[in-house]
Amino acid sequence: MSLPTISLTPAVDAAIRAHGRETFPHECCGAMLGRDGVVHDAHPLPNTTEEGPRRRFLVRPGDYRGAEQRARGAGLDLLGFYHSHPDRPARPSQYDLDHAWPSFSYVIVSVMAGEDQRLTSWRLKEERSAFDEEPVVITNSPTHQLAKS
């Protein structure tokens, strides 16, 4: 099996970074909708954590359902979720690992002092022991340009 990669359109890359800057110093979060490993829509979601949004994020079940419906409506798949790490590196935390779902891509953008820095993507290993980092490709290929919902 080839190494999985995730591709972001430039607009998605920019949207995730902008969301991270906006909510700084708090974490942002959102759903990534796309097809065949290419994210076409970064859909911002409210961070509903009650443990302090500086270090945590939580997507409510209702918002999760909404994201699945949005994907279905647009003829896309739910590929995963993104979130930001304010003033921390773009590496998954133990907490990320404990709460991860299989087969999703988890994109993390590091936002230092309000400026977006590195953006990485991670997938849970099947036995839940750790994440594998997957290469992030910023794509510009017109063949990937699907109509947005």
């Binding site: 110093p25 708090h26 945590r56 935390s93 779902w101 309000g114």
Partner: protein, 482 residues
């Protein structure tokens, strides 16, 4: 058979099906049968102890089973059961990368390690912690020394000043041999002598709107030891904008204040004081003096609160404003509330980036250093010119507007003492037609006296440029400076 909807991430374990039909009379039975049929699901739905993972939500139709009968919730034909993920995550906690303690460190911190509130984990938290002290002066000295002794791993210091004799009465980071050195250098030497395990990071700059967020970024707590309003508002706003707690302290004469501002749920300095006082109303320590042991108390309160925040113990000084009166030896506490209308931390903030704080506080840059810039010769006189006039025998009244205790240290021979605060009721003692030169320590208070006397109809009143300090420099070096 009951329909179970499978969310996207679990479909690889159900042969890519988004709906699976399973039999059972309760949710518990359904899930058991589901995971028997599709074994790969088990570890993602259940924790090692066999309970459902907290971020796995099971809905029967539109209701969360947590609010029904949990696993015992009955199901019947026609119901739809959904497995719905809560997606959660977060930044690496400090604990994940906590550094180990060396054998030397275990010996050094043994009195901490045997207390359950600190312990090995707490001490490792302290070692991983980064605290930025704004200023290495009266408050920064005791605070940084206790933080270093306690084992805070990284202490940053922002300061641009040089050690002066007048600092030594209270700024314990610096000793007599350090006079003339950069405060950063003597501070670093002192802290490393106390505890060589501490990494001291120095920033030779005045904190500004341009550099504050960049300086703050790597730090966990900001300790405000500033002595002026523009920097105090700058520290507060930068703390709110970057989400870092502000261990605040300030001192004046015999009174000190302390609080913890800009935590997620707590108030900030602007919730208490949205706007600065009019310029000149509140004198600084250089003008008004400060009781030397006072910053010892307040700086150590700031260090205490900083360490409590790092350890996550006790009741932090959040939403509480501590006022200490050294003369009466009394502590008072005011309750503070987060103000929803606060311009920086409220629900609809109007300050969303750092502004020009000197302008905000009505202080022109460097105005405090000398009051001379916009004055013409009619308004000002230098010490040399004044000396020449006095030597010629001109009829000049030198009006000293300092406090009596300052007058005891040094004075211009023949000067009259009327402290600025007494002037409104004592100006009648002066002849409005006399040629007057007003004078203080450096020229700030005397400029206000000049303004006041003019408003009362005095015609010839000039301000002595540089005050008594200028007089000593230019005319009479035999007198002591303070």
């Amino acid at each position: 058979m009951i329909k179970i909807l499978i969310p996207t991430p679990l479909r690889p374990f159900t042969d890519k099906l988004d709906t699976v039909e399973v039999s059972g009379a309760t949710v518990g039975e359904l899930l058991q049968n589901l995971t028997t049929q599709y074994g790969g699901l088990k570890q993602h739905l259940y924790a090692a102890d066999g309970t459902l993972r907290s971020f796995v939500n099971i809905y029967v139709n539109d209701d969360d089973i947590r609010y029904l009968q949990k696993n015992a919730t009955p199901v019947k034909a026609g119901d739809t059961v959904s497995i719905i993920p809560s997606v959660a995550g977060g930044s690496p906690a400090a604990t994940e990368t906590l550094p180990e303690l060396s054998g030397d460190e275990i010996k050094r911190y043994s009195r901490h390690l045997i207390m359950p509130e600190v312990g090995v984990e707490g001490q490792r938290r302290l070692k991983a912690a980064k605290v930025l002290c704004i200023g290495a002066g009266g408050l920064g000295s005791p605070a940084a020394m206790y933080l270093a002794a306690a084992g805070v791993g990284t202490i940053g210091i922002v300061d641009f000043d040089v050690v002066d004799f007048s600092n030594l009465q209270r700024q314990l980071l610096h000793g007599t041999p350090d006079v003339g050195r950069r405060k950063l250098d003597s501070a670093k030497d002192r802290l490393n002598a106390l505890n060589p395990n501490v990494h001291v990071e120095t920033y030779d700059a005045a904190l500004s709107s341009e550099n504050a967020l960049k300086f703050f970024a790597p730090y966990d707590v900001i300790l405000d030891g500033t002595d002026n309003f523009p920097t105090r508002y700058l520290v507060n706003d930068a703390c709110v904008l970057s989400g870092k707690p502000n261990a605040y302290g300030s001192i004046f004469r015999f009174e000190g204040q302390a609080s913890v501002f800009a935590t997620t749920d707590g108030p900030c300095y602007r919730c208490l004081y949205p706007e600065p006082p009019p310029p000149g109303l509140v004198p600084n320590c250089a003008e008004g003096g400060v009781f030397g042991v006072l910053p010892g108390i307040i700086g150590v309160i700031q260090a205490t609160e900083t360490i409590k925040l790092i350890l996550g113990i006790g009741e932090p000084l959040i939403g509480r404003f501590m006022i200490y009166d050294a003369l009466r030896m009394r502590f008072r506490e005011l309750k503070l509330r987060k103000d929803a209308d606060c311009p920086v931390c409220g629900t609809h903030p109007t300050v969303t980036k750092l502004i020009d704080y000197e302008q905000f506080c009505g202080v022109a840059p460097h105005q405090l250093e000398a009051a001379k810039p916009m004055m013409t010769n009619l308004d000002a006189v230098t010490a040399r010119e004044l000396k020449a006039e006095l030597d010629r025998g001109d009829m000049v009244v030198v009006l000293d507007v300092r406090e009596p205790q300052e007058y005891q240290i040094n004075k211009i021979p023949g000067s009259i003492l009327i402290p600025l605060g007494d002037l409104p009721r004592r100006y009648v003692e002066l002849d409005p037609n006399a040629t007057i030169v007003s004078q203080c320590k450096s020229g700030v208070r005397s400029a206000r006296a000049q303004e006041f006397l003019r408003s009362k109809g005095f015609t010839s009143i000039r301000n002595l440029t540089g005050g008594i300090l200028g007089w000593i420099d230019q005319v009479d070096p035999s007198q002591p400076k303070y």
